[in-house]
Symmetry: C2
Subunit: 297 residues, 2 copies
């Protein structure tokens, strides 16, 4: 039994497809097939059930998974910990960010790089769904996102700030006359909203469904700047967290009330993973940012 084989097994279990897993692992399908078989022989029990050309995990495979993951994770953690000892000379930091928190990362990453110029920072934008999967595959150190609806026991959550949802319109719109708006008053406004898959969109849908209100959606877009461009044009309104539009000009935003819609900004990371120094340093900077006098919210 070797870590190599455990890693192969984990990937095969995840994808339930030897060919695809081999490709991800940059080995041939034949190699993967042989290595898994060898592991099974050593363990004395099959880990996969071969049904025709399909594979599915056996009960033994299911049970073995946790141990294999723990073993691989521990080795990785030890490796990461040692890299840290070299005082972040060669560090790398991979951060997943949802589109809604673009402003948070834009500000903090500059401060971080000023302090630690040798660290290579990767920023990956995506929907929370995409990012959470990458987190589970060890492709990200942490995620900046709004609160998740379904919390997962293998993740840990650090709340950062509360951000009110706002209705956004062009400076020529009727919004200039009010300083707040009720949920039910939004019902008949023509909306441009983030596409399905965005957590903000899911949040909006849930709220309106619960109150039995309709949404008058004209356009769905999976890009926030384009959404705001549409709003600026004057025809449409949109709904976002105030944090999301912090640095945009030429728009008007008013808080939504009855009920007041709030979203929690969060750091999501994987439990049981060694926390690199670069990661904890970044957390500190985010903390400063969110605790400074009304940086967001």
């Amino acid at each position: 039994m070797e870590l190599r084989q455990l890693k192969y097994f984990l990937r095969a279990k995840e994808l339930l497809n030897f060919t695809a897993a081999a490709s991800v692992l940059h080995i041939s399908q034949s190699t993967l097939s042989q290595q898994v078989k060898q592991l099974e022989i050593e363990l004395g029990t099959p880990l996969f059930e071969r049904i025709g050309k399909r594979i599915k995990l056996t009960e033994a495979g299911e049970l073995f998974h946790d141990y294999a993951l723990q073993s691989v994770t521990s080795a990785n953690n030890g490796f990461q910990m040692l890299k840290d000892l070299n005082n972040m000379e060669t560090g790398e930091l991979k951060i997943g960010v949802t589109f809604a928190l673009r402003q948070v990362i834009a500000t903090t990453v500059k401060q971080f790089l000023a302090l630690y110029p040798k660290i290579l920072v990767h920023i990956v934008y995506g929907t929370s769904e995409e990012l959470l999967q990458k987190l589970d595959n060890f492709e990200l150190d942490f995620i900046l996102s709004f609160e998740e609806f379904e919390k997962n026991n293998s993740h840990q959550y650090q709340p950062l700030f509360d951000s009110p949802m706002v209705l956004i319109g062009s400076p020529e719109s009727d919004l200039k006359k009010v300083n707040k708006i009720r949920v039910k008053d939004i019902e008949n406004l023509p909306l441009a909203l983030p596409a399905k898959g965005f957590s903000t969109r899911k949040y909006i849908d849930d709220v309106f469904k619960k109150k039995n209100l309709n949404l008058n959606i004209s356009i769905e877009v999976n890009d926030i700047p384009m959404l705001l461009d549409l709003v600026k044009s004057g025809k449409y309104y949109t709904i976002l967290a105030k944090t999301t539009i912090q640095d945009y000009d030429s728009i008007i935003a008013v808080p939504i009330i009855q009920p007041a819609l709030m979203r929690k900004g969060m750091i999501i990371s994987a439990k049981d993973i060694y926390e690199k120094r670069a990661v904890s340093e970044f957390y500190k900077i985010i903390d400063q940012y969110t605790n400074s006098p009304s940086p967001v919210s």
Copy 2:
């Protein structure tokens, strides 16, 4: 990084001697040397400091140890767990027993084997020191012993019973006239005691030292039956837990008081280790044994 290399590292760290470690691992010294070096290169930092022909662990090595151990342990646990699924068809059970608890294991192992005849049981006698080291090397599943003085955070302890310490003499000795004896009355009796290294001996030494009493030791032996033979001969007394002499005839034993000396029988096992079914089944039998109407004590 492979489990093989982590195992090599752990053994080398334990023995601080590549030649000896290689021998235990059944590989050549040159192979061990190369594999450790390769691991060090991959980790980007030396794990051992080479001072002439000596080696000692670097700080990095010290830190890395816990992760390596965790990784290897998890893989082993997964392996053990799967073996268990085969319903103990090929099980093996390794039990360490201190001499003092000979009677406990003698009775329980018979019952266990009657229930699970296919399990191969190894029983290893030794001092607690020897046995604890074997436990840490995964050479034992658990230990039956009296309570340890220095508890170790990587072990877990299950108390079984309390056994009073007794003064033991021949049927012709003056002990027949009394039914208990004070600690300070033992001071001038000629004693045959277990040798240094026995936990019972350490316990006795500690008690007498604390009370500023002398021990009049005539003979030290590292074998309990011989100790009792000497006692039977009439010249000497000895001190043991009552449990230890449970099935011996032709001796007289009286409890020691002021203070009453008691020892706790214990199961000691390693934390974070998968508990085989054979092990939990054995625990059940020991439980029955110690909870039955005065089996020991």
